[in-house]
Protein backbone atom coordinates (compact mmCIF):
# COMPACT_ATOMS: atom_id res chain seq x y z
CA UNK A 1 0.00 0.00 0.00
CA UNK A 2 2.83 2.34 0.92
CA UNK A 3 6.33 1.80 -0.36
CA UNK A 4 8.85 4.40 0.73
CA UNK A 5 12.41 4.25 -0.48
CA UNK A 6 15.15 6.45 0.93
CA UNK A 7 12.68 9.22 1.57
CA UNK A 8 14.58 12.38 2.51
CA UNK A 9 13.34 15.87 3.21
CA UNK A 10 15.55 18.84 3.90
CA UNK A 11 14.25 22.22 4.89
CA UNK A 12 16.62 25.13 4.52
CA UNK A 13 19.65 23.71 6.27
CA UNK A 14 17.74 21.25 8.44
CA UNK A 15 17.15 17.62 7.66
CA UNK A 16 13.69 16.66 8.81
CA UNK A 17 13.59 13.13 7.38
CA UNK A 18 16.61 11.14 6.33
CA UNK A 19 16.55 8.11 4.02
CA UNK A 20 13.47 6.57 5.45
CA UNK A 21 12.52 3.25 3.85
CA UNK A 22 9.53 1.19 4.83
CA UNK A 23 6.58 -0.70 3.42
CA UNK A 24 3.04 -0.89 4.63
CA UNK A 25 0.99 -3.87 3.50
CA UNK A 26 -2.71 -3.54 2.65
CA UNK A 27 -5.07 -3.91 5.59
CA UNK A 28 -2.49 -3.12 8.26
CA UNK A 29 -2.83 -0.52 10.97
CA UNK A 30 0.58 1.01 11.40
CA UNK A 31 1.54 3.33 14.22
CA UNK A 32 4.06 6.04 13.61
CA UNK A 33 5.96 6.95 16.74
CA UNK A 34 8.63 9.45 17.53
CA UNK A 35 9.40 12.35 19.85
CA UNK A 36 8.48 15.94 18.91
CA UNK A 37 10.26 17.06 15.79
CA UNK A 38 11.14 13.52 14.76
CA UNK A 39 9.73 14.05 11.29
CA UNK A 40 6.41 12.21 11.49
CA UNK A 41 4.30 15.01 10.06
CA UNK A 42 6.86 15.71 7.39
CA UNK A 43 6.79 12.08 6.28
CA UNK A 44 3.00 12.07 6.20
CA UNK A 45 2.96 15.26 4.15
CA UNK A 46 5.27 13.64 1.64
CA UNK A 47 3.14 10.51 1.48
CA UNK A 48 0.00 12.55 0.91
CA UNK A 49 1.67 14.32 -1.99
CA UNK A 50 1.54 17.74 -0.34
CA UNK A 51 5.31 18.11 -0.07
CA UNK A 52 7.76 16.64 -2.56
CA UNK A 53 10.65 14.64 -1.09
CA UNK A 54 14.09 16.20 -1.49
CA UNK A 55 15.33 12.81 -2.63
CA UNK A 56 14.09 9.27 -2.60
CA UNK A 57 10.67 8.14 -3.70
CA UNK A 58 7.45 6.80 -2.37
CA UNK A 59 4.44 5.16 -3.89
CA UNK A 60 0.97 4.92 -2.46
CA UNK A 61 -1.44 2.35 -3.83
CA UNK A 62 1.01 1.87 -6.69
CA UNK A 63 1.10 5.55 -7.65
CA UNK A 64 4.15 7.76 -7.31
CA UNK A 65 3.47 10.53 -4.80
CA UNK A 66 5.30 13.08 -6.87
CA UNK A 67 4.33 12.46 -10.48
CA UNK A 68 0.89 10.90 -9.99
CA UNK A 69 -0.33 13.20 -7.30
CA UNK A 70 -4.00 13.21 -8.30
CA UNK A 71 -4.25 9.40 -8.27
CA UNK A 72 -2.53 9.34 -4.90
CA UNK A 73 -4.99 11.91 -3.57
CA UNK A 74 -7.88 9.76 -4.79
CA UNK A 75 -6.47 6.82 -2.81
CA UNK A 76 -6.01 8.54 0.53
CA UNK A 77 -7.92 10.24 3.28
CA UNK A 78 -5.48 12.61 4.90
CA UNK A 79 -5.98 14.31 8.21
CA UNK A 80 -3.26 16.89 8.84
CA UNK A 81 -1.87 17.80 12.22
CA UNK A 82 -3.96 20.34 14.17
CA UNK A 83 -7.06 19.65 12.05
CA UNK A 84 -7.14 22.75 9.85
CA UNK A 85 -10.73 23.56 8.79
CA UNK A 86 -12.69 26.45 7.32
CA UNK A 87 -13.87 28.21 10.44
CA UNK A 88 -16.62 30.14 8.66
CA UNK A 89 -18.49 27.00 7.61
CA UNK A 90 -20.90 24.81 9.50
CA UNK A 91 -19.79 21.27 10.25
CA UNK A 92 -22.23 19.53 7.94
CA UNK A 93 -21.81 22.10 5.22
CA UNK A 94 -18.05 21.64 5.39
CA UNK A 95 -18.31 17.87 5.12
CA UNK A 96 -20.64 18.16 2.14
CA UNK A 97 -18.24 20.52 0.44
CA UNK A 98 -15.37 18.13 1.05
CA UNK A 99 -17.42 15.15 -0.11
CA UNK A 100 -18.22 16.94 -3.36
CA UNK A 101 -14.56 17.78 -3.87
CA UNK A 102 -13.77 14.11 -3.40
CA UNK A 103 -16.19 13.21 -6.16
CA UNK A 104 -19.30 12.19 -4.25
CA UNK A 105 -22.61 13.67 -5.36
CA UNK A 106 -26.34 13.73 -4.84
CA UNK A 107 -28.14 11.41 -2.46
CA UNK A 108 -25.12 9.12 -2.08
CA UNK A 109 -23.07 12.10 -0.92
CA UNK A 110 -25.68 13.18 1.62
CA UNK A 111 -26.00 9.64 2.93
CA UNK A 112 -22.25 9.25 3.27
CA UNK A 113 -21.92 12.57 5.10
CA UNK A 114 -24.59 11.50 7.59
CA UNK A 115 -22.83 8.19 8.01
CA UNK A 116 -19.41 9.61 8.86
CA UNK A 117 -20.99 12.23 11.13
CA UNK A 118 -22.59 9.36 13.00
CA UNK A 119 -19.32 7.41 13.14
CA UNK A 120 -17.36 10.37 14.48
CA UNK A 121 -20.15 11.57 16.82
CA UNK A 122 -20.42 15.03 15.33
CA UNK A 123 -24.17 14.86 14.64
CA UNK A 124 -24.85 17.07 17.64
CA UNK A 125 -22.76 19.95 16.28
CA UNK A 126 -23.58 19.61 12.60
CA UNK A 127 -25.29 23.00 12.41
CA UNK A 128 -22.67 24.90 14.36
CA UNK A 129 -19.92 27.07 12.95
CA UNK A 130 -16.65 25.17 12.98
CA UNK A 131 -14.94 28.26 14.34
CA UNK A 132 -17.05 27.96 17.49
CA UNK A 133 -16.42 24.27 18.07
CA UNK A 134 -14.12 22.98 20.78
CA UNK A 135 -10.83 21.44 19.77
CA UNK A 136 -12.04 17.88 20.24
CA UNK A 137 -15.03 18.41 17.99
CA UNK A 138 -12.90 20.04 15.32
CA UNK A 139 -10.59 17.08 15.51
CA UNK A 140 -13.54 14.77 14.95
CA UNK A 141 -14.85 16.80 12.03
CA UNK A 142 -11.41 16.52 10.45
CA UNK A 143 -11.42 12.78 11.04
CA UNK A 144 -14.88 12.51 9.49
CA UNK A 145 -13.51 14.38 6.49
CA UNK A 146 -10.69 11.86 6.07
CA UNK A 147 -13.17 8.97 6.14
CA UNK A 148 -15.59 10.52 3.63
CA UNK A 149 -14.57 8.91 0.37
CA UNK A 150 -13.81 5.51 1.98
CA UNK A 151 -10.28 5.64 0.58
CA UNK A 152 -8.10 2.53 0.68
CA UNK A 153 -5.50 4.35 2.79
CA UNK A 154 -6.01 6.66 5.75
CA UNK A 155 -3.12 8.88 6.79
CA UNK A 156 -3.97 10.36 10.15
CA UNK A 157 -1.63 12.77 11.91
CA UNK A 158 -2.35 12.54 15.64
CA UNK A 159 -6.04 11.74 15.25
CA UNK A 160 -6.75 11.48 18.96
CA UNK A 161 -4.87 14.62 19.95
CA UNK A 162 -7.13 16.76 22.12
CA UNK A 163 -9.92 14.22 22.61
CA UNK A 164 -11.34 13.25 25.97
CA UNK A 165 -10.76 9.67 27.20
CA UNK A 166 -14.21 8.48 26.14
CA UNK A 167 -13.72 9.89 22.68
CA UNK A 168 -10.23 8.44 22.41
CA UNK A 169 -11.72 5.04 23.08
CA UNK A 170 -14.47 5.63 20.51
CA UNK A 171 -12.04 6.72 17.84
CA UNK A 172 -9.90 3.70 18.61
CA UNK A 173 -12.92 1.45 18.22
CA UNK A 174 -13.79 3.18 14.99
CA UNK A 175 -10.33 2.67 13.55
CA UNK A 176 -10.32 -0.92 14.73
CA UNK A 177 -13.62 -1.50 12.94
CA UNK A 178 -11.96 -0.37 9.72
CA UNK A 179 -9.20 -2.92 10.10
CA UNK A 180 -8.89 -5.18 7.09
CA UNK A 181 -10.96 -2.90 4.86
CA UNK A 182 -8.74 0.14 4.98
CA UNK A 183 -5.05 0.53 5.58
CA UNK A 184 -4.26 3.04 8.28
CA UNK A 185 -1.07 4.94 9.03
CA UNK A 186 -1.45 7.00 12.17
CA UNK A 187 0.96 9.00 14.23
CA UNK A 188 0.50 9.43 17.93
CA UNK A 189 2.21 10.20 21.19
CA UNK A 190 -0.02 7.87 23.17
CA UNK A 191 1.83 4.61 23.43
CA UNK A 192 -1.03 2.57 24.81
CA UNK A 193 -2.89 3.49 21.68
CA UNK A 194 -0.26 1.84 19.55
CA UNK A 195 -0.21 -1.20 21.80
CA UNK A 196 -3.98 -1.49 21.66
CA UNK A 197 -4.50 -0.79 18.01
CA UNK A 198 -1.54 -1.25 15.74
CA UNK A 199 -0.26 -4.29 13.91
CA UNK A 200 3.07 -2.61 13.43
CA UNK A 201 5.09 0.24 14.81
CA UNK A 202 7.43 2.49 12.93
CA UNK A 203 9.59 4.38 15.34
CA UNK A 204 11.54 7.33 14.08
CA UNK A 205 13.90 9.71 15.76
CA UNK A 206 15.65 12.72 14.25
CA UNK A 207 14.33 11.74 10.85
CA UNK A 208 15.71 8.21 10.88
CA UNK A 209 13.93 4.90 11.29
CA UNK A 210 14.83 3.29 14.59
CA UNK A 211 12.53 0.32 14.64
CA UNK A 212 9.96 -1.37 12.46
CA UNK A 213 8.27 -4.28 14.18
CA UNK A 214 5.12 -5.46 15.94
CA UNK A 215 4.51 -3.79 19.31
CA UNK A 216 4.89 -7.14 21.08
CA UNK A 217 8.19 -8.00 19.43
CA UNK A 218 9.53 -4.55 20.19
CA UNK A 219 8.78 -4.81 23.86
CA UNK A 220 10.03 -8.41 24.00
CA UNK A 221 13.31 -7.94 22.23
CA UNK A 222 14.40 -4.64 23.56
CA UNK A 223 16.22 -4.75 26.84
CA UNK A 224 13.87 -2.86 28.97
CA UNK A 225 12.18 -5.15 31.49
CA UNK A 226 12.48 -3.95 35.09
CA UNK A 227 12.83 -5.91 38.28
CA UNK A 228 11.74 -4.33 41.53
CA UNK A 229 13.49 -5.64 44.63
CA UNK A 230 13.01 -4.64 48.25
CA UNK A 231 15.44 -5.97 50.82
CA UNK A 232 16.40 -5.45 54.42
CA UNK A 233 20.12 -4.91 54.00
CA UNK A 234 22.92 -2.44 53.83
CA UNK A 235 22.27 -0.48 50.64
CA UNK A 236 25.81 -0.34 49.27
CA UNK A 237 26.31 -4.04 49.82
CA UNK A 238 22.98 -4.93 48.24
CA UNK A 239 23.68 -2.82 45.20
CA UNK A 240 27.07 -4.41 44.73
CA UNK A 241 25.75 -7.95 45.05
CA UNK A 242 22.76 -7.47 42.76
CA UNK A 243 24.67 -5.59 40.09
CA UNK A 244 27.00 -8.54 39.80
CA UNK A 245 24.19 -10.93 38.90
CA UNK A 246 24.00 -12.17 35.34
CA UNK A 247 21.20 -10.58 33.31
CA UNK A 248 21.23 -7.32 35.25
CA UNK A 249 22.30 -4.39 33.15
CA UNK A 250 22.33 -1.71 35.78
CA UNK A 251 20.63 -0.55 38.92
CA UNK A 252 18.53 2.55 38.76
CA UNK A 253 17.39 4.71 41.61
CA UNK A 254 13.72 4.23 42.31
CA UNK A 255 11.61 7.29 41.66
CA UNK A 256 11.22 8.32 45.30
CA UNK A 257 12.41 7.06 48.64
CA UNK A 258 10.32 9.54 50.62
CA UNK A 259 8.43 8.07 53.53
CA UNK A 260 10.11 4.71 53.15
CA UNK A 261 11.05 2.36 55.88
CA UNK A 262 14.63 3.31 56.77
CA UNK A 263 15.59 -0.34 57.28
CA UNK A 264 14.48 -1.40 53.85
CA UNK A 265 16.20 -0.79 50.55
CA UNK A 266 14.13 -0.64 47.38
CA UNK A 267 15.99 -0.99 44.11
CA UNK A 268 15.03 -1.14 40.45
CA UNK A 269 17.12 -3.39 38.23
CA UNK A 270 17.20 -2.86 34.49
CA UNK A 271 17.52 -6.24 32.82
CA UNK A 272 19.15 -7.50 29.69
CA UNK A 273 16.74 -8.53 26.94
CA UNK A 274 14.89 -11.77 27.67
CA UNK A 275 16.58 -12.36 31.07
CA UNK A 276 14.79 -13.28 34.26
CA UNK A 277 17.19 -13.25 37.25
CA UNK A 278 14.48 -13.50 39.94
CA UNK A 279 15.70 -16.83 41.31
CA UNK A 280 19.30 -15.64 41.53
CA UNK A 281 18.15 -12.56 43.43
CA UNK A 282 16.37 -14.68 46.02
CA UNK A 283 19.41 -16.97 46.27
CA UNK A 284 21.66 -14.01 46.99
CA UNK A 285 19.24 -12.74 49.60
CA UNK A 286 19.12 -16.13 51.30
CA UNK A 287 22.89 -16.53 51.26
CA UNK A 288 23.45 -13.08 52.76
CA UNK A 289 20.60 -13.48 55.23
CA UNK A 290 18.67 -10.48 53.92
CA UNK A 291 14.92 -10.41 54.31
CA UNK A 292 13.21 -10.09 50.92
CA UNK A 293 9.72 -8.65 50.72
CA UNK A 294 9.30 -7.58 47.12
CA UNK A 295 10.43 -9.24 43.94
CA UNK A 296 8.40 -8.02 41.02
CA UNK A 297 9.16 -8.36 37.32
CA UNK A 298 7.61 -5.64 35.23
CA UNK A 299 7.61 -6.43 31.52
CA UNK A 300 8.79 -3.61 29.32
CA UNK A 301 6.16 -1.28 27.97
CA UNK A 302 6.37 0.42 24.65
CA UNK A 303 7.04 3.58 26.55
CA UNK A 304 10.25 2.14 27.94
CA UNK A 305 11.27 1.01 24.52
CA UNK A 306 10.59 4.44 23.22
CA UNK A 307 12.52 6.30 25.89
CA UNK A 308 15.31 3.79 25.60
CA UNK A 309 15.61 4.04 21.84
CA UNK A 310 15.54 7.79 21.91
CA UNK A 311 18.23 8.03 24.57
CA UNK A 312 20.32 5.31 22.94
CA UNK A 313 20.32 7.27 19.76
CA UNK A 314 21.38 10.43 21.47
CA UNK A 315 24.36 8.67 22.97
CA UNK A 316 25.55 7.48 19.56
Amino acid sequence: MINAKDLTKRYAGRTAVESLSFRVEPGQIVGFLGPNGAGKSTTMRMLSGYLPPTSGSASVNGFCVFSQSLEVRRSIGYMPEMAPLYTDMRAKEYLRFRAELKGLAGAAMRRRVDEVMEQCSVQSVRRRLIGNLSKGFRQRVALADALLASPPLLILDEPTNGLDPVQIRQVRELLRSLRGRQTILLSTHILQEVEALCDRVLMIHQGRLLADDTPAALTRNLRSAQLWVELQADEAKAREALAALPGVRRIEDPPSSEGRDPDWVRLMLRLEAGQDPRSSVSEVAMREGWALRELHLQPASLEDVFVELASMDRAV
Binding site: R10, R45, I76, Y86
Partner: protein, 252 residues
Protein backbone atom coordinates in the same frame (compact mmCIF):
# COMPACT_ATOMS: atom_id res chain seq x y z
CA UNK B 1 -15.81 21.84 -14.67
CA UNK B 2 -17.80 20.28 -11.84
CA UNK B 3 -14.94 20.86 -9.40
CA UNK B 4 -14.58 24.42 -10.60
CA UNK B 5 -18.23 25.06 -9.86
CA UNK B 6 -17.97 23.47 -6.37
CA UNK B 7 -14.95 25.59 -5.54
CA UNK B 8 -16.53 28.73 -6.95
CA UNK B 9 -19.68 28.23 -4.90
CA UNK B 10 -17.62 27.87 -1.75
CA UNK B 11 -15.58 31.00 -2.49
CA UNK B 12 -18.66 33.09 -3.22
CA UNK B 13 -20.20 31.83 -0.03
CA UNK B 14 -17.16 32.90 2.02
CA UNK B 15 -17.43 36.38 0.53
CA UNK B 16 -20.96 36.76 1.75
CA UNK B 17 -20.65 35.18 5.19
CA UNK B 18 -17.79 37.50 6.02
CA UNK B 19 -18.44 41.23 6.27
CA UNK B 20 -15.90 41.99 3.53
CA UNK B 21 -18.29 41.94 0.58
CA UNK B 22 -20.78 44.18 2.37
CA UNK B 23 -18.15 46.65 3.52
CA UNK B 24 -16.76 46.98 0.02
CA UNK B 25 -20.23 47.23 -1.44
CA UNK B 26 -21.20 49.98 0.97
CA UNK B 27 -17.97 51.84 0.33
CA UNK B 28 -18.33 51.68 -3.43
CA UNK B 29 -21.99 52.71 -3.26
CA UNK B 30 -21.10 55.70 -1.16
CA UNK B 31 -18.25 56.80 -3.37
CA UNK B 32 -20.14 56.23 -6.59
CA UNK B 33 -22.94 58.33 -5.11
CA UNK B 34 -20.44 61.15 -4.71
CA UNK B 35 -19.20 60.60 -8.25
CA UNK B 36 -22.72 60.87 -9.53
CA UNK B 37 -23.30 64.10 -7.64
CA UNK B 38 -20.10 65.51 -9.09
CA UNK B 39 -21.19 64.46 -12.57
CA UNK B 40 -24.63 66.05 -12.10
CA UNK B 41 -23.17 69.30 -10.86
CA UNK B 42 -21.02 69.54 -13.98
CA UNK B 43 -24.08 69.03 -16.16
CA UNK B 44 -25.99 71.63 -14.16
CA UNK B 45 -23.52 74.31 -15.19
CA UNK B 46 -24.82 74.19 -18.70
CA UNK B 47 -24.23 72.26 -21.89
CA UNK B 48 -21.12 70.09 -21.69
CA UNK B 49 -19.22 68.09 -24.21
CA UNK B 50 -19.38 64.79 -22.35
CA UNK B 51 -22.32 62.70 -21.27
CA UNK B 52 -23.22 61.99 -17.67
CA UNK B 53 -21.60 58.57 -18.04
CA UNK B 54 -18.30 60.13 -18.94
CA UNK B 55 -18.38 62.56 -16.03
CA UNK B 56 -19.35 59.79 -13.67
CA UNK B 57 -16.08 57.91 -14.25
CA UNK B 58 -13.78 60.92 -14.02
CA UNK B 59 -13.92 62.27 -10.47
CA UNK B 60 -11.45 61.32 -7.79
CA UNK B 61 -14.31 59.73 -5.91
CA UNK B 62 -14.49 57.10 -8.57
CA UNK B 63 -10.77 56.35 -8.49
CA UNK B 64 -10.85 56.10 -4.73
CA UNK B 65 -13.47 53.37 -4.81
CA UNK B 66 -11.65 51.73 -7.67
CA UNK B 67 -8.42 51.26 -5.71
CA UNK B 68 -10.01 50.23 -2.46
CA UNK B 69 -12.04 47.42 -3.90
CA UNK B 70 -9.23 45.20 -5.20
CA UNK B 71 -7.12 44.65 -2.08
CA UNK B 72 -10.23 44.14 0.02
CA UNK B 73 -11.64 41.57 -2.36
CA UNK B 74 -8.47 39.58 -2.90
CA UNK B 75 -6.37 39.75 0.26
CA UNK B 76 -8.20 36.86 1.87
CA UNK B 77 -8.13 34.43 -1.03
CA UNK B 78 -4.87 32.54 -0.52
CA UNK B 79 -3.35 34.22 2.52
CA UNK B 80 -6.09 32.93 4.77
CA UNK B 81 -5.76 29.36 3.56
CA UNK B 82 -2.05 29.55 4.21
CA UNK B 83 -2.52 31.00 7.66
CA UNK B 84 -5.10 28.44 8.73
CA UNK B 85 -3.28 25.49 7.23
CA UNK B 86 -6.23 24.59 5.02
CA UNK B 87 -3.90 24.58 2.00
CA UNK B 88 -2.94 21.16 3.22
CA UNK B 89 -6.49 19.83 3.16
CA UNK B 90 -7.30 21.64 -0.08
CA UNK B 91 -4.34 20.29 -2.02
CA UNK B 92 -4.66 16.72 -0.78
CA UNK B 93 -8.03 16.21 -2.46
CA UNK B 94 -8.08 15.52 -6.20
CA UNK B 95 -8.22 19.12 -7.44
CA UNK B 96 -5.78 20.78 -9.81
CA UNK B 97 -4.04 23.95 -8.71
CA UNK B 98 -5.34 25.89 -11.71
CA UNK B 99 -8.90 25.00 -10.77
CA UNK B 100 -8.39 26.53 -7.35
CA UNK B 101 -6.80 29.67 -8.81
CA UNK B 102 -9.51 30.08 -11.40
CA UNK B 103 -12.32 29.53 -8.88
CA UNK B 104 -10.95 32.09 -6.47
CA UNK B 105 -10.30 34.62 -9.18
CA UNK B 106 -13.75 34.16 -10.72
CA UNK B 107 -15.43 34.55 -7.36
CA UNK B 108 -13.62 37.84 -6.78
CA UNK B 109 -14.50 38.98 -10.30
CA UNK B 110 -18.19 38.18 -9.79
CA UNK B 111 -18.32 40.07 -6.51
CA UNK B 112 -16.48 42.94 -8.18
CA UNK B 113 -19.10 42.94 -10.94
CA UNK B 114 -21.78 43.15 -8.32
CA UNK B 115 -20.15 46.32 -6.98
CA UNK B 116 -21.08 48.24 -10.12
CA UNK B 117 -24.70 47.19 -10.06
CA UNK B 118 -25.80 50.10 -7.80
CA UNK B 119 -24.15 52.62 -10.11
CA UNK B 120 -26.08 51.15 -13.02
CA UNK B 121 -29.29 51.43 -11.04
CA UNK B 122 -28.38 55.06 -10.37
CA UNK B 123 -28.20 55.73 -14.09
CA UNK B 124 -31.54 54.08 -14.64
CA UNK B 125 -32.97 56.12 -11.79
CA UNK B 126 -31.74 59.37 -13.29
CA UNK B 127 -33.13 58.47 -16.67
CA UNK B 128 -36.47 57.81 -15.01
CA UNK B 129 -36.58 60.84 -12.73
CA UNK B 130 -35.63 63.35 -15.41
CA UNK B 131 -37.93 61.65 -17.89
CA UNK B 132 -35.12 61.34 -20.41
CA UNK B 133 -33.95 64.97 -20.15
CA UNK B 134 -30.54 63.81 -18.99
CA UNK B 135 -29.34 61.56 -21.75
CA UNK B 136 -27.67 58.35 -20.58
CA UNK B 137 -26.12 57.02 -23.76
CA UNK B 138 -26.36 53.23 -23.84
CA UNK B 139 -23.16 52.76 -25.83
CA UNK B 140 -21.12 54.80 -23.40
CA UNK B 141 -22.61 52.89 -20.52
CA UNK B 142 -21.80 49.52 -22.04
CA UNK B 143 -18.29 50.68 -22.92
CA UNK B 144 -17.66 51.92 -19.40
CA UNK B 145 -18.70 48.68 -17.80
CA UNK B 146 -16.74 46.68 -20.34
CA UNK B 147 -13.47 48.44 -19.62
CA UNK B 148 -14.19 48.38 -15.91
CA UNK B 149 -14.48 44.62 -16.17
CA UNK B 150 -11.15 44.31 -17.99
CA UNK B 151 -9.35 46.69 -15.65
CA UNK B 152 -10.94 44.92 -12.71
CA UNK B 153 -9.82 41.51 -13.90
CA UNK B 154 -6.26 42.77 -14.20
CA UNK B 155 -6.20 44.34 -10.75
CA UNK B 156 -7.90 41.34 -9.15
CA UNK B 157 -5.32 39.03 -10.71
CA UNK B 158 -2.68 41.29 -9.20
CA UNK B 159 -4.40 40.90 -5.84
CA UNK B 160 -4.51 37.11 -6.24
CA UNK B 161 -0.78 37.04 -6.83
CA UNK B 162 -0.13 39.24 -3.79
CA UNK B 163 -2.31 37.01 -1.65
CA UNK B 164 -0.55 33.86 -2.81
CA UNK B 165 2.81 35.27 -1.78
CA UNK B 166 2.11 35.66 1.92
CA UNK B 167 0.11 34.23 4.77
CA UNK B 168 -0.60 37.70 6.11
CA UNK B 169 -3.74 39.35 4.74
CA UNK B 170 -2.59 42.86 5.62
CA UNK B 171 0.64 42.43 3.70
CA UNK B 172 -1.32 40.97 0.78
CA UNK B 173 -3.62 44.01 0.79
CA UNK B 174 -0.77 46.51 0.98
CA UNK B 175 1.18 44.82 -1.80
CA UNK B 176 -1.84 44.60 -4.07
CA UNK B 177 -2.83 48.23 -3.38
CA UNK B 178 0.70 49.44 -4.06
CA UNK B 179 1.03 47.51 -7.30
CA UNK B 180 -2.35 48.68 -8.59
CA UNK B 181 -1.49 52.25 -7.74
CA UNK B 182 1.94 51.98 -9.35
CA UNK B 183 0.42 50.65 -12.54
CA UNK B 184 -2.06 53.51 -12.56
CA UNK B 185 0.56 56.15 -11.85
CA UNK B 186 2.89 54.73 -14.48
CA UNK B 187 0.07 55.12 -17.01
CA UNK B 188 -0.60 58.65 -15.82
CA UNK B 189 3.06 59.51 -15.98
CA UNK B 190 3.48 58.24 -19.52
CA UNK B 191 0.35 60.11 -20.52
CA UNK B 192 1.56 63.43 -19.18
CA UNK B 193 5.02 62.83 -20.56
CA UNK B 194 3.64 61.79 -23.94
CA UNK B 195 1.66 65.02 -24.25
CA UNK B 196 4.82 66.98 -23.60
CA UNK B 197 7.05 65.11 -25.99
CA UNK B 198 5.02 64.56 -29.10
CA UNK B 199 1.62 63.56 -30.32
CA UNK B 200 2.97 60.33 -31.77
CA UNK B 201 3.26 59.01 -28.24
CA UNK B 202 -0.48 58.90 -28.01
CA UNK B 203 -0.51 55.45 -29.56
CA UNK B 204 1.68 53.99 -26.86
CA UNK B 205 -0.23 55.81 -24.17
CA UNK B 206 -3.42 54.07 -25.02
CA UNK B 207 -1.77 50.84 -23.99
CA UNK B 208 -0.88 51.77 -20.45
CA UNK B 209 -2.95 54.60 -19.12
CA UNK B 210 -6.01 53.43 -17.22
CA UNK B 211 -7.36 56.99 -17.08
CA UNK B 212 -7.15 57.25 -20.83
CA UNK B 213 -8.88 53.90 -21.22
CA UNK B 214 -11.80 54.97 -19.11
CA UNK B 215 -12.06 58.24 -21.00
CA UNK B 216 -12.17 56.45 -24.34
CA UNK B 217 -14.57 53.72 -23.37
CA UNK B 218 -16.94 55.95 -21.41
CA UNK B 219 -17.37 58.12 -24.46
CA UNK B 220 -18.67 55.03 -26.21
CA UNK B 221 -15.56 54.24 -28.27
CA UNK B 222 -14.42 50.66 -28.06
CA UNK B 223 -10.71 50.08 -28.52
CA UNK B 224 -9.44 46.51 -28.67
CA UNK B 225 -5.89 47.35 -27.62
CA UNK B 226 -6.62 47.97 -23.95
CA UNK B 227 -8.77 44.86 -23.88
CA UNK B 228 -5.93 42.78 -25.23
CA UNK B 229 -3.50 44.48 -22.88
CA UNK B 230 -5.54 43.85 -19.75
CA UNK B 231 -6.57 40.33 -20.59
CA UNK B 232 -3.05 39.20 -21.42
CA UNK B 233 -1.73 40.74 -18.21
CA UNK B 234 -4.52 39.05 -16.28
CA UNK B 235 -3.61 35.67 -17.72
CA UNK B 236 0.06 36.27 -17.01
CA UNK B 237 -0.61 37.21 -13.39
CA UNK B 238 -2.86 34.20 -12.88
CA UNK B 239 -0.15 31.99 -14.34
CA UNK B 240 2.31 33.50 -11.85
CA UNK B 241 -0.11 32.82 -9.03
CA UNK B 242 -0.38 29.23 -10.20
CA UNK B 243 3.40 28.92 -10.19
CA UNK B 244 3.69 30.40 -6.72
CA UNK B 245 1.26 27.81 -5.40
CA UNK B 246 3.02 25.03 -7.25
CA UNK B 247 6.38 26.19 -5.96
CA UNK B 248 5.88 24.05 -2.88
CA UNK B 249 5.85 21.03 -5.14
CA UNK B 250 8.95 21.91 -7.10
CA UNK B 251 11.86 19.54 -6.84
CA UNK B 252 14.67 21.42 -5.12
Amino acid sequence: MRLLWILLKKELRSFFVSPVAYVVLALVMLLSGYSLRAALSILERGPSEGSIVQWMFQPNWFWLSYFFAFPLLTMRLFAEEKKMGTMETLFTVPVETWQVVLAKFSAALLVYGLLWLPSYLNFELIRWITAGQVVVPGGALAGSYLILAFMGAFNLALGCLASSLTSNQIIAAVVSFTLSLLHFLAGLFIMVLGRRVSESFVDIISYFASMEHIRTFSSGLLDTRPMVYYSSLTLLLLAFTHQVLEFRRWKP
